[in-house]
Symmetry: C2
């Protein structure tokens, strides 16, 4: 029998295919615990997920990998195979930095903290939440320290790198510093401009009716229900695997408008997953590029497309049919372009949203860098909210530092991805319009698939075959340029 | 540091605890694919579940087990620890018989066959189903052959043994032969007696209303919703893990009565799982004893308790409230004691039910023993149905040999457990009543918890600490005695 000329590479592919099977189960366990699992099932689930995380880690650090990767690097591979091998080496290196026992401990602590957080948040129970968060943070810091030493970067940068490979706090400070120089002024200016706008009564809408509406909107966005589903959870997310994407949302019967855009947002994530290259399923080159690129797709969908006039025009009859809602197109446009400083990040408009991220970025840096204790987080939060958005959160933990799931599950370093994503989304739109003409005109003339087609061709189908910089360079002609986001906000909201 | 005197035993406990974590994920994957997963997710899920099955198998056959078990058998252990060690050795032996590659191939084939079966069944598509079933059966036969050689028993007995350790086809032929001698006569006699009974209009009931009713009934039966949930699936089952039991049912809006007893049945399974000994969670001694004992608990709940007059009296106001159903207690009693030969096993009354099992037992034996080809199964089915229940199923595959999920997923040898379960249930009732007095009086006087308490004490809390024969002997004073089942049917239905 002939040996293939790239047998080491083939061996790696088969090994990482196995890993992807266990990651499939991990994604299922995460989705289930958030969307389905009764509280009493949490302890056993946490133990099972920790065992699984440890197992995946042991597969990613299998002793044979070092020399098999080295041997594969000498084999004759296509450009795409080389890209896959690059991602394989990256995953191997990342996993090797952290001991399996820490991976297991982190998973257990995260499960415990999150399970309790769900109830504690609704009870505004900061004192109950704090020790769990301290526990999770201690483990995140332990990981940060280990990664920092291995990569010779700062502990916080070592966490950023997990979600956005190559991103540094210095670069973020530069990007966010730019934002800080003009965003507060713009917010003030828009608020002044919108002060005298009419406010509309949002009609009551049952959860059942909103669920039907959500399916309609997902269908409009070409979500493939043969490869995914929609459920509810206390913290909306997009999970599952590319062949079976699990979205969740939540419904506020007194105000459907936020949940509706939540579904549009999560559908953006889902379309990215469903559009990942079929040929590379189960391989490291076949997964989504980074969290910032993932958020760019959800925010493209929600902010660039979803809050545009043409898309809202298509929603209007659906609202009428499903919710018996008589808001006019102009009223919808008005509602979805309102800029209102608020407590809750996920409910924020796109102009005040970056302020929520600035706060979290500063808090994370300080927590990981030992300049801020968990006990002092609520005061830090309130002071920052006051300074950035004029909001006091003293004593209101539920709508303050307890509102998000990320820290409860130990994901320190994730938040900047949201604002980077908003910036990439603006940049993608400009590039797309240079090729296809105005997105508004395309949507208005029934050519939404030209828009999704561009995203599929330039982003989704690339998986991780390119680095983030290569991906953005090929799609837009340059790497990340925050100016497009500024131009977008000025154009949509400016005086 | 002092070494524990039973360190080999402790090592085994820790190893099997790990295995139970992966089995937790396996149970979750199974439940999800039946109750939640969109069809398009099936291929990736099947691959993930096959990988997981292979991994669990590799853990159960780890090379260190042979000598660790042998060493543990020389250690000073309590009686319960000895029982756990016995179950550990049993699981190890069972796993060692079958190669991991066959476990993986079986899982893949079962997933493929089941996924397709769901659609094929509704389309009555026998020609589409047949090659998949042949494939699944070929693998089941391969397993049977390997097990038969290792255990020095017949291939079909080797499959029976998986679900009901120690059960043989000879013993079953004796038990079922007994049934055959009197059951057809009884069915005829009851039909004659019931020929002139009134028939009642069953009111239409929406799925939503039935779902609320189901929760009420589960609550009445003390199902713990903090450790479980209820959903719908095309084939009702009880899955999940002891700390998070996942029931499913299906609702027929034109006739709620079958779905309602389906929920009572599955709740019987669930109570067994929820009542397993907390102290032994994650250990082989802590799981349910056997499938026949499992079915004894569901059938106790559905047939002994659920169709009794006192329980139906408690259901009656719930039906009124949730379904606006005005059937009287007498009418309910009448409906739930009707004996009507029908096509569908899961909808069968308790008198004709064993006929469905007799048929499947004969078919399984013949299929595994190469006396029957899959291609000839429909004719075999129709002939047997004709002879046992006077029903012709020619061409009606959907309500014939395609109705059940078991063979589609390769579970040959499971069906006899149902009728063994019905026999155990009757036997348990007699023993319980000898200690507590009439179950009907207990339920009528609001002492349902005395009934569940007896089951918990004698069955649920024993897990697998006793063998099946020991369990039944301790609970009832003798091993399986089919006479109690006969007496029960004669007493409830006899002339």
């Amino acid at each position: 029998m002939n040996q293939p000329t790239n047998k080491n590479y083939q061996l790696l592919c088969s090994h990482f295919q196995s890993i992807s099977h266990f990651e499939h189960l991990s994604a299922l366990g995460d989705w289930d615990q958030a969307a389905m699992m009764p509280i009493g099932g949490g302890e056993a689930r946490g133990a099972a997920m920790a065992e699984l995380a440890k197992h995946i880690h042991s597969l990613k650090t299998a002793p044979m990998l070092e020399q098999t990767i080295a041997a594969a690097e000498l084999e004759a591979l296509t450009a795409q195979q080389q890209a896959n091998l690059r991602e394989i080496r990256y995953q191997y290196q990342q996993a090797n930095i952290v001991p399996g026992s820490l991976v297991e401990a982190k998973t257990k602590a995260a499960y415990k903290c999150e399970q309790a957080w769900r109830e504690q948040r609704s009870q505004n129970d900061w004192q109950g939440f704090r020790p769990n968060l301290e526990n999770v943070l201690a483990l995140a810091k332990e990981e940060a320290q280990i990664r920092a030493e291995a990569l010779n970067i700062s502990p916080y940068d070592a966490l950023l790198d997990k979600f956005e490979p190559g991103m540094t706090s210095t670069r973020l400070e530069h990007i966010f510093g730019g934002l800080k120089s003009w965003l507060p002024g713009l917010i003030e200016q828009i608020q002044e401009k919108q002060r005298h706008q009419d406010r509309f009564q949002i009609p009551h809408a049952s959860s059942d009716a909103q669920a039907l509406l959500s399916r309609d909107v997902m269908t409009l966005l070409q979500f493939d229900f043969n490869h995914g589903r929609l459920d509810t959870s206390s913290h909306p997310f997009c999970g599952g695997v590319a062949s079976d994407v699990r979205l969740t949302t939540r419904y506020d019967e007194a105000d459907f408008t936020s949940g509706l855009m939540g579904v549009v947002h999560e559908t953006g994530h889902a379309k990215y997953e469903q559009g990942l290259p079929l040929k590379w399923r189960g391989q490291p080159a076949g997964v989504a590029r980074s969290m910032a690129i993932h958020e760019s797709q959800s925010l493209f969908c929600e902010m660039q497309l979803g809050r545009g006039s043409a898309f809202l025009k298509q929603l209007q009859p659906m609202l009428q049919q499903r919710l018996d809602c008589n808001l006019s197109h102009e009223q919808l446009l008005n509602i979805y372009s309102r800029v209102t400083p608020g407590h809750i990040r996920v409910d924020a408009d796109e102009v005040t949203y970056p302020c929520h991220i600035l706060l979290r970025f500063e808090a994370e840096k300080a927590l990981v860098g030992n300049q801020l204790a968990v006990a002092d987080l609520p005061d830090f939060w309130s002071a920052q909210m006051q300074s950035l958005l004029g909001i006091n959160t003293d004593g209101d933990y539920k709508n303050g530092c307890m509102q998000d799931i990320h820290w409860a599950v130990g994901e320190m370093g994730y938040f900047p991805s949201y604002t980077l994503g908003a910036m990439y989304a603006a940049q993608f739109r400009v590039a797309m319009e240079q090729q296809l003409g105005s997105m508004e005109s395309l949507v208005a003339s029934g050519h939404l698939s030209s828009v999704t087609g561009w995203l599929e061709h330039n982003i989704w189908s690339k998986g991780s075959l390119l680095t983030t910089d290569e991906l953005v360079q090929q799609a837009t002609g340059e790497t990340l340029n925050p100016e497009y986001f500024k131009k977008h906000l000025l154009q949509r909201y400016g005086a």
